[in-house]
Amino acid sequence: MKGRNKVNSTLKYDLVVIGGGPAGMAAALEAKNNGVEKIIILERAETLGGILEQCIHTGFGLHYFGEELSGPEYAHRFIELVEQTDIEVKTDTMVISISKDRIVTAVNKEDGFIQINATAIILAMGCRERPRGALDISGSRASGVMTAGAAQKFVNIDGYMPGKKIVILGSGDIGLIMARRMTLEGAEVKMVCELMPYSGGLTRNIVQCLDDFGIPLKLSCTVIEVHGNERVEGITIAQVDKNRNIIEGTQEFVECDTLLLSVGLIPENELSKQIGIDMDGITSGPVVNEMRETSLSGVFACGNVLQVHDLVDYVTKESQIAGLGAAKFIANGGSADAKYAFTKGINGVRYIVPQRVNINSTEEIKLYFRVGDVYKNSKVVVSVGDEVLYEKRKQKLAPGEMENVTLTVEMLGKIKENDEIIVAIKER
């Protein structure tokens, strides 16, 4: 359902959700299920679904639906649910600014210039890929260098091959998925280079995307130069040492016409920064409490804009929390009796979301975190001061896989306001 803008008047909504991908949709639906009346989703692409629309591989929904779905199928489950409600949706609509008093400004062709007064806002803008410009790659500006996600869109949505002889830099899941995709579509994927000594992607993707096709994975290896005046003609790779410095003499020219970059995802927080909410320097996303509320009351964040997820199932769960939080805010305003303790990751725990937890919460709180290295046979320890609240043995922890621990109400009872809740890895 599309809303109609009246010229020169500001619209009023209970909840404005910025982003109609899996995060935005789940948040909007949960808010609706918890009694919020006027909700609108503003989406800049032509359809809802977010990045899932181009993620045509399967592996989505194993946890949430108990089924193995492709990206578009997973998205479609939620699109159908949204269509069954009176949640308004504007697509091809870009939010260009938000203000501290929660006025959302957006533009599109149909309505033109839109201004919405929101009681609550949910930020669900997702993330973007790290571009070449931010990398240490010398050489020319030939065509044929692009991010893996951009190539994925060309192949899966536009239906064009962006290259024939491919080198992929980065062994995160997007790089691995594209190695397989390009091979199936007839390209020659010569190798996947990975700067770290381990892959950032799921093991199942190493097996099904590289091993299955005999595509070599070169660890501790990076691309240092691009060659070619007009179109890429080749690249130079080199080995790196444990400090990620180039090892002289290991440079090697590889002939190719395409370099795909899968070197990191960055939450897209341009709008968040406009309203000056507190940001977490490690996640590059907003600082939030257990309801995913940011430092600006009434503004919530969920999905990849908050922290980069590897499983969309967790995005859905997180977004439902944000939707519920927004619903409670719209119904009751801020929670006056909230008392906060802060989470902190040490000894291998790179970050924790949420960064603040209300110790008066009557529900258990899940803390999501990522480790900075591969740990085998170790323990996750949650403690406050000298007291260990919880310990869990983990056979394997890896940077590419988000983990979680649960703070039960009983544990919360042992935490005082302003305490630091430490989550640490203890190796055996």
């Binding site: 045509i56 591989h57 492709s70 578009p72 479609h76 949505i157 299955d212």
Partner: protein
């Protein structure tokens, strides 16, 4: 003989050892932490299968291709042959999720179905 593999049935990726006799029959499986791992190990060593996802041409739609998947896992060895069959196919818009693109592909009893919709 003993085969080492990593189970890909779920993101845990348990390392599994599979013992096979001279006929290639699985006689022992260790290292799995669940039943799916056991099943995966068995099939992977005797008849490895893979889910196939790709796109197929669409005529008269808002988009030129639509994503498709195999309705269940296909024998690993026929991936590229399946791609040839799928690349020769064409759907007419409108396309709905679940529309059959190729029925019983290469006599496997498995269909290739659309996983997104395309409006005309």
């Amino acid at each position: 003989m003993i085969k080492d593999l990593i189970c890909v049935a779920c993101p845990l990726g348990c390392p599994i050892n599979v013992t096979l006799d001279e006929n290639g029959t699985v006689t022992d499986v260790t290292g799995n932490t669940c039943k799916r791992g056991f099943e995966y190990a068995n099939t992977e060593c005797t008849n490895p299968t893979r889910s196939l996802t790709t796109t197929v041409k669409v005529d008269g739609g808002k988009l030129p291709v639509v994503p498709v998947k195999s309705s269940s896992a296909l024998p690993k060895g026929i991936m590229f042959e399946c791609m040839k069959v799928i690349n020769a196919a064409c759907l007419k818009a409108p396309v709905k999720i679940g529309d059959v693109v190729v029925k019983d592909i290469l006599n496997t009893g498995i269909d290739i179905v659309a996983t997104n919709e395309v409006k005309a």
